[in-house]
């Protein structure tokens, strides 16, 4: 599957099937800090991603502070 990552923007090829939480663990990404989006739809940690999926892992942490 194609996995799009942001900040910086980059793309990875990852073999499926793999559960969302396992994919995040493999990439050392904390669940609390991202959303996983497949075909414009959010997916939960137990969803299984397949070879032909295109997945965005979108960071949600933002903001500066004085």
């Amino acid at each position: 599957m194609k996995v799009l990552l942001r900040n910086p923007r980059r793309e990875l090829d990852v073999p499926g099937p793999v559960a969302v939480h396992a994919l995040l663990e493999r990439l050392s990404i904390k669940r609390e800090s991202v959303l996983v989006i497949r075909a414009d739809t959010l997916v939960t940690g137990d969803a299984v991603l397949h070879d032909d999926d295109v997945v965005e892992i979108r960071p949600v942490i933002s903001g500066g502070a004085a």
Binding site: L35, R58, P59, I61, S62, G63, A65, A66
Partner: protein
């Protein structure tokens, strides 16, 4: 995973609530959390005019959307910071949202209207960029609200923002800031009321809200915020949250319930020493307010 409310397939899991939600029930959850924050802390009275500070990011656009849906009278205020392509893009997202909702967006442009930008201002005043930016926002949002006759300024600070600021203030035992770290700052001394209606929602929830509502927002981080302390605190708290879901909410809300009142006298004492700025008239502890000093240094450096 199934939705806690309607048992349809869930699209998001909130470990803090030990629950999953389908799209519709999640949007309902977000609106209810905002409604509850507004009611619990008496943030917005009936018929009051609200100015929401809009950055083009997920939190402020989601806040504007929810406040409109809850029936409040809300205009947006976008402040152009002069941070290159980032400012150009973020302004476009704010304008697109306003057009889509038929809402009124007030705009102030730091370079065009005040003669400096944040990169120049931070260098000239020897402040980190986030400090110069935050100072400018606080001053100009309040000024715009006073000038426009608004009763309330609403900002998109969410639970993660508040927990991270609290973490930083506790690390340094900054008692004056701890005394002011409240979801509502009352009006007075030339300041309109400031409210944070998103304090019951985390930033992951706000990003999910925007995805589910089809709200486009700037996903890229501000280039000037890279590596700042606030982001490091958020990452540290997310490490704790990963092991102990609900830790961030407990840290912040237990502070409000059990400790914030211990610091209000320090904050009140600091407020008692304020006087009008000799340049703009805003309340300040010195002769000239911090924003006017920043602007003077920045415009001198620009000329």
């Amino acid at each position: 995973m199934r939705c806690r409310r309607c048992k349809a397939p869930a699209v998001i899991e909130l470990r803090r609530h030990n629950a999953g939600f389908c799209g519709d029930c999640f949007l309902h959850h977000c609106r209810e959390q905002v409604r509850r924050a507004i009611d619990d802390h008496a943030m917005i009275g009936a018929g009051e005019r609200v100015l929401v500070a809009v950055s083009g990011g997920k939190d402020s656009l989601a806040l504007w959307d929810i406040l409109l849906d809850l029936g409040h009278s809300v205009d947006g205020l976008y402040l152009g910071l002069g941070i290159g392509d980032y400012s150009t893009s973020s302004a476009a997202y704010a304008r697109a949202f306003a057009a889509r909702r038929g809402a009124n967006l007030v705009e102030i442009d730091l370079p065009a209207d005040l003669g400096f930008d944040i990169p120049t201002g931070s260098r000239a005043a020897k402040r980190v960029p986030c400090s110069a930016c935050g100072l400018s926002k606080r001053h100009l949002f309040n000024q715009a609200a006073v000038d426009g006759g608004y009763d309330v300024v609403a900002t998109g600070h969410n639970l993660d923002d508040e927990a991270a600021v609290l973490f930083g203030n506790v690390l340094r035992w900054n008692t004056e800031y701890l005394g002011r770290q409240l979801p509502v700052l009352p009006a007075g001394q030339g300041f309109v009321r400031k409210v944070k209606p998103l304090v019951r929602l985390g930033e992951r929830e706000m990003a999910a809200y925007c995805v589910l509502r089809g709200i486009d927002y700037i996903v890229e981080e501000c280039p000037m915020a890279e590596g700042n302390r606030h982001l490091a605190y958020k990452e540290a708290l997310n490490d704790i949250e990963e092991r102990s879901p609900g830790a961030k909410a407990a840290f912040y809300f237990e502070f409000l319930d059990k400790a914030s009142h211990l610091f209000t006298s320090t904050a009140d004492a600091a407020k008692a020493d304020l006087r009008p700025c000799s340049s703009c008239g805003s309340a300040t502890p010195g002769e000239t307010c911090a924003f006017c000093k920043l602007r003077a240094r920045a415009t001198a450096a620009s000329s």
